[in-house]
């Protein structure tokens, strides 16, 4: 059943009185259509059609461009200077008529050549006509905005189910579900979810998806070796000591250094610190092992070399590798994750790259600016041959003017991430946030710290933070503002505007919460960006329909957690292990090992992006998983007492569908499984329950006949039998599960296979 967000409180109140129900679908303060861009038709037209055309003009017609002396000088950045540029262009047209078109199209001599053609020329001419009153601006020329109330969304309960799996890897409890009457009731529950281990795992994966610093895990390249041995003579402190535990100690040391950037992000979120601290932290996080690398001797925390002969278990019990402390290293001007060795090496520099790569990444991650995206316009190689082209030719300056000042703020860090004050000497450009905003002279030895302070004060930091979590939650990037000559520009713009109002709304709440990142996660989950299921009749925007809501393949890591959550058992390459501890060993989990990249995952080395399109190989992985989990893990569930079972609380392993009582029990268990595995709350007579029961019955009937006729064994496959208890203790024969003479266990296996390979189990989705 669809729920609808109504934003107008009066309408809402009236409707609720009429309906007589509670306000279970109104998020507090969520923006509606009234917040969409409005005002004068001409200004709307400028905002939607003309503003982006100016992107090509500003390379010269800006206060730093070659046309700065003319009477047409626009403000930058274009995207956030619409009001100013509207006034500038309007004034110009009122004085000069359609000169902006004739010169822009090079019909009248124009030093910049042809800049307006095709759609951009048409748009500019129309704008001139509107300003001059030659033509009347009508709303038909501007695509109207889509109101929030026109978007159907998941119910609060279904949203909670989805969020629970997403954030914790587990289904919500019955108590939690019962407590949700309106969408705002989710708030405290979501905050609880954001305290769980599952949430931390999800955050680590989400952060690594863009930082890629897990490249240094698994000892592909030892992170401690990245540190300079003169600065950190103890970087390999463990090699001086003889011990059987060295490899574990080394791995734990490496783990902490590789994860410094990601651990910092987690640390800030877990402790409800301002998210800006990920860049401004004046410390590095160490664990008991990496503390020794930095000679940070913290009493009772840093690994004591006297403990070298501890067993591995005792060592890890005493010195938890996940335990972290803040340490300020002498002579290092920490700037949050920017100054960590993992970040600086994952995004290295060269003597000729001059930190431009680092600058591009910083701006992409934290300033909502895709410099490489600016290179989408054609350049002419014959115009960029001079030595000074980088600084003077508009083909180059469009990127370099943005890139260079921030690149220069890395000038005190060498190519390998070592801090050496003045390393780069005189940088090619003055360090700063931009050409205009230069770093003060007294910041010369701690430029990254200065940069971090500036970035986190900039509105774009908050925007990029929202977009990063939007990607983590929905699996897709935020929409980009369409370029003026884009196909279906108005449709794209309408979709972009709809999404952008939620991004802006969330950004403002984020800032108001003193940059608490949990606020972003909570607000996105409650928004139509996450919850959309459909539209009112009359809303026709294919771009929006393909972007809103959830429709993406669950990552291998998240699917691994979800399988465990519903089955109580991981999909493991050690299939015959009954021992739960063995099964918990993540190195054997098939979705984290041999199938990880085949199933669309990343290795952070050669494969650095996820693949979301299901192909034949991935479909076979789903089938293989469902078949293997339908085998031993399904049998295993019957070992436990009914109230301890994950799958079969209402049936026994030999309950046959032969009488009304048994059939009722079987259907009740199927109803439970639909809820437990697929998150579907279905009445007992729902066609889906009937369809699953039919599968059970057909399998049972055929199987029973086959067993009776001798065509099938009355025993389970060896691989599917339970011979010993989950704690590995011996089982007396009566408690072993080897036989299935009535074919009931195998009928349940078929049901489990069916549900585990279902679309709703393997995809994040809003299908209700």
């Amino acid at each position: 059943m669809y729920k609808v967000i109504f934003s107008n409180s009066l309408i809402m109140a009236s409707l609720l009185m009429y309906l007589g129900c509670s306000s279970d679908f109104i998020p507090n303060g969520i923006p509606d259509g009234a917040d969409a861009p409005s005002g004068e038709c001409v200004q709307d037209y400028f905002n939607s059609e003309v503003s982006s055309v100016l992107t090509t003009c500003v390379s010269c017609h800006s206060d730093k461009g070659s046309a700065k002396g003319t009477n047409l000088v626009f403000k930058e950045p274009i995207a956030s200077s619409k009001n100013e540029n509207f006034a500038i262009l309007k004034t110009y047209i009122e004085a000069e008529g359609d000169k902006v078109v004739t010169k822009g199209a090079n019909e009248e001599a124009h030093n910049g050549g042809t800049q307006l053609s095709g759609n951009s020329k048409v748009a500019m001419q129309l704008f001139v006509n509107y300003v001059n009153g030659k033509q009347e601006c009508s709303s038909a020329s501007v695509k109207s905005s889509i109101a929030t109330s026109q978007v159907h969304v998941l119910s609060a309960e279904a949203t909670l189910r989805s969020a629970a799996f997403k954030l914790t890897g587990n289904a919500p409890t019955e108590v939690e579900l019962a407590s949700v009457k309106s969408i705002d009731d989710l708030d405290p529950i979501l905050y609880d979810y954001m305290e769980t281990e599952g949430f931390k795992s999800w955050l680590k994966e989400s952060f690594n998806d863009f930082l890629l610093t897990d490249f240094y895990l698994d000892r592909r390249e030892n992170a401690e070796d990245l540190l300079n041995d003169e600065d950190f003579p103890s970087r390999r402190w463990y090699t001086d000591l003889e011990s059987i535990s060295e490899s574990t100690i080394r791995a734990n040391t490496n783990y902490a250094i590789a994860r410094e950037p990601i651990n910092l992000m987690l640390h800030v979120i877990e402790n409800n610190r301002p998210y800006s601290e990920i860049l401004t932290a004046d410390y590095v996080l160490v664990n008991p092992y990496s503390a020794r690398v930095y000679d940070a001797d913290i009493n009772g925390f840093t690994f004591d070399v006297g403990d070298f002969n501890l067993t591995e278990e005792a060592m890890e019990a005493k010195y938890d590798r996940e335990a972290l402390r803040e340490v300020k290293l002498p002579n290092i001007p920490h700037a949050g994750l920017l100054s960590t060795i993992a970040f600086l090496n994952r995004f290295p520099s060269t003597p000729t790259n001059l930190d431009r790569h680092r600058s591009a990444k910083v701006q992409l991650f934290f300033l909502d600016t895709d410099i490489l995206g600016l290179a989408n316009r054609p350049i002419n190689s014959s115009e960029v041959v001079s030595d000074s082209a980088t600084w003077t030719n508009p083909n180059c300056t469009i990127c370099h003017n943005i890139m260079e000042p921030i690149a220069s703020t890395f000038k005190n860090w060498d190519e390998e991430g070592r801090y050496i004050a003045g390393f780069r000497g005189d940088a090619v450009q003055v360090p700063g946030m931009s050409i205009e905003k230069r770093a003060p002279n007294d910041a010369s030895e701690h430029l990254l710290q200065w940069l971090a302070g500036e970035i986190t004060k900039d509105d774009r930091f908050a925007v990029s933070s929202v977009k990063m979590f939007l990607k983590a939650l929905t699996g897709r990037d935020a929409m980009k503002e369409p370029e003026a000559d884009a196909d279906d520009y108005l449709t794209k713009l309408q979709a972009y505007n709809f999404e952008n109002k939620f991004i802006t709304f969330t950004k403002e709440k984020f800032i108001a919460s003193n940059y608490n990142a949990k606020m972003i996660i909570k607000e996105i989950i409650k928004s139509p960006l996450y919850r959309a299921t459909g539209f009112d009749n009359g809303v026709d925007n294919a771009i929006l329909s393909s972007h809103l809501g959830q429709a993406h393949l669950i990552t291998p890591e998240a699917l691994n957690r979800k399988i465990y959550s519903v089955m109580g058992y991981y999909w493991s390459s050690r299939r015959y292990d009954t021992n739960q501890n063995e099964n918990n060993n993540s190195s054997d989990h098939r979705l984290l090992d041999e199938f990880k990249t085949l199933y669309g995952g990343m290795d952070s080395v050669n494969i650095t992006s996820r693949k979301d399109d299901l192909n034949g190989i991935m479909a076979n992985i789903q089938t293989r998983m469902a078949l293997q989990m339908g085998c031993f893990p399904t049998t295993r569930d019957f070992y436990f007492a009914p109230d301890k079972r994950k799958l079969f609380p209402y049936v026994t392993k030999d309950l046959k569908p032969l009488d009304a009582y048994s059939i009722e029990k079987i259907k009740k268990n199927i109803q439970y499984l639909h809820s437990h595995i697929l998150g579907e709350s279905l009445p007992i007579d729902d066609p889906e329950i009937e369809a699953t029961y039919k599968l059970f019955l057909d399998t049972y009937t055929d199987g029973r006949v086959a067993v009776l006729s001798g065509d099938e064994s009355e025993y389970l496959l060896n691989e599917c039998r339970l011979d010993v208890a989950p704690d590995e203790s011996a089982l007396e024969p009566s408690k072993q599960i080897r036989k299935d003479e009535y074919y009931v266990i195998r009928s349940w296996s078929a049901v489990i296979t069916y549900l585990l390979s279902d679309f709703k189990f393997v995809y994040e989705n809003n299908v209700e």
């Binding site: 329909s545 990249t597 809003n766």
Partner: protein
């Protein structure tokens, strides 16, 4: 308007309106397209558009200066293919592979296009432009388009190991990895192991489960309203309906002869092609972004690349498909004329491409550059150098490849992914 109607199905499901919704028995008999993308921007002057250093570019110690086009060989040592006199190449060796082996062995088949104006020197834009024919975002790679038109229902139509491999939903790209054991297990997913006779579910049970899954999927598709989710449901249906085809791939995989990355990735595609399941593959090769030590690093990476193609040519012979494989070898862009202070070369918007295969007249070089690697203009009819002509761009090459693949008039391309109408029709391959 067609474009607008198409958008109702969303860009994520472009081909879904045109392609079958069920997997069909493999029927592909066209050529296998192998796209090898040299990642990072190669230096054409280090192989197929050689310049070398001139006597005037040598310092007092006899060493080439940074102004030289190539420090690693002199202009007067530029080699000529023994089988194709038109083809000149740099006389280098990299990763133990002599470039002469490649250019002499395959010169007759090889078409080189020099002097391509890439119109960008950004990595993302360059990778996108060479493979999609459009500088801006939003178009699928031509490798995906070929697969999307030829056998969209095959689970292995388009195999990719990286590079620009956007599909925009016209076909599902498949990462195969290098492990044939894993593929074997997946091909026989209901067996305990590929060689076991035991199965998890009997035929009768499997049939019941699959029937129930099909019916359930139809019900879900009926209920769904959002275009994005509809596309994913369709994708799920298509992927599962073709999942049995993997067994055919297994039958055609030959033992691996070398761990060369280009070869490893291409041989699985050849097995897929032999089984009628694969029509194109993307292979990403190397670290060509040589801002420092250009000559050493380019030679190393090019040697690996040439050796990989050489091994694949041998594999094609072994598979009996040598005359049905098209190679397209390309990169993001080129590298600057002359060296920076770290003996590296930076990004440069002039480059080359290489082609081999059926429909491609080899032993030729189309296009040219001047002594400082600036692109010469060519006459669009004769393809000869012509100062009043045009510069060859990736869009021209893409247009020619569409024609060579016989997909230029397909509805998917003409309605949804047309190239700019002003792009000239260059008869590059004939």
């Amino acid at each position: 308007m067609l474009r607008r109607n198409f958008l109702k199905y969303t860009s994520a499901v472009a081909a879904m309106v045109l392609i079958p919704t069920e997997s069909m028995a493999a029927t592909y008999t066209g050529p296998l397209w192998i796209f090898v993308q040299a990642s990072g921007g190669w230096d054409p002057t280090s192989f197929c558009d050689p310049k070398g250093f001139l006597p005037s570019e040598v310092d007092g110690n006899g060493n080439p200066t940074n102004n030289a086009m190539n420090k690693s060989y002199a202009a007067d040592t530029i080699a000529t293919s023994t089988t194709a006199p038109a083809i000149k190449y740099a006389p280098l060796t990299g990763s133990g592979y002599d470039f002469a082996t490649f250019f002499d062995t395959y010169g007759k088949e090889l078409l080189i296009v020099n002097g391509i104006d890439t119109q960008t020197n950004g990595h993302s834009a360059g990778k996108r432009y060479v493979m999609s024919g459009r500088l801006a975002e939003g178009y699928p790679a031509i490798s995906a388009l070929i697969a999307g038109v030829s056998i969209p229902s095959s689970p292995l139509a388009f195999i990719t190991s990286g590079g620009y491999d956007e599909t925009e939903g016209v076909v599902a790209g498949t990462r195969l990895g290098d492990t044939t054991n894993t593929i074997e297990e997946l091909a026989f997913s209901n067996k305990l192991s590929p060689t076991s006779s035991s199965v998890y579910e009997t035929n009768a049970t499997r049939s019941h489960v699959q029937k129930a899954q099909t019916a359930r999927l139809e019900r879900l598709m009926q209920k769904e309203n959002m275009a994005g989710a509809k596309a994913k449901l369709q994708e799920y249906k298509l992927a599962h309906s073709g999942s049995n085809e993997l067994k055919k791939l297994i039958d055609n995989i030959k033992p691996e002869l070398d761990n060369n990355r280009v070869y490893s990735q291409g041989r699985l595609a050849m097995a897929g092609y032999k089984a009628g399941l694969t029509s194109s593959v993307n292979i990403s090769s190397g670290s060509f972004d040589t801002h420092s030590q250009n000559d050493t690093n380019q030679a190393r990476e090019l040697g690996r690349l040439f050796k990989g193609i050489d091994l694949l040519k041998q594999e094609a012979i072994d598979q009996g498909i040598a005359k049905r494989v098209i190679f397209v070898v390309c990169s993001d862009f080129g590298r600057t004329p002359g060296y920076n202070r770290n003996n590296g070369k930076d990004h440069w918007s002039v480059t080359s491409m290489m082609f081999m295969g059926p429909g491609i007249r080899g032993g030729r070089v189309v296009g040219s550059t001047n002594s400082r690697h600036l692109a010469d203009k060519v006459n669009p009819k004769t393809l000869k150098k012509d100062i009043n002509g045009i510069k060859i761009t990736y869009a021209h090459v893409n247009k020619a490849m569409r024609k060579l693949a016989g997909i230029e008039n397909e509805k998917l391309l003409t309605q949804y992914y047309p190239l700019d109408g002003t792009i000239e029709d260059l008869d590059i391959f004939a």
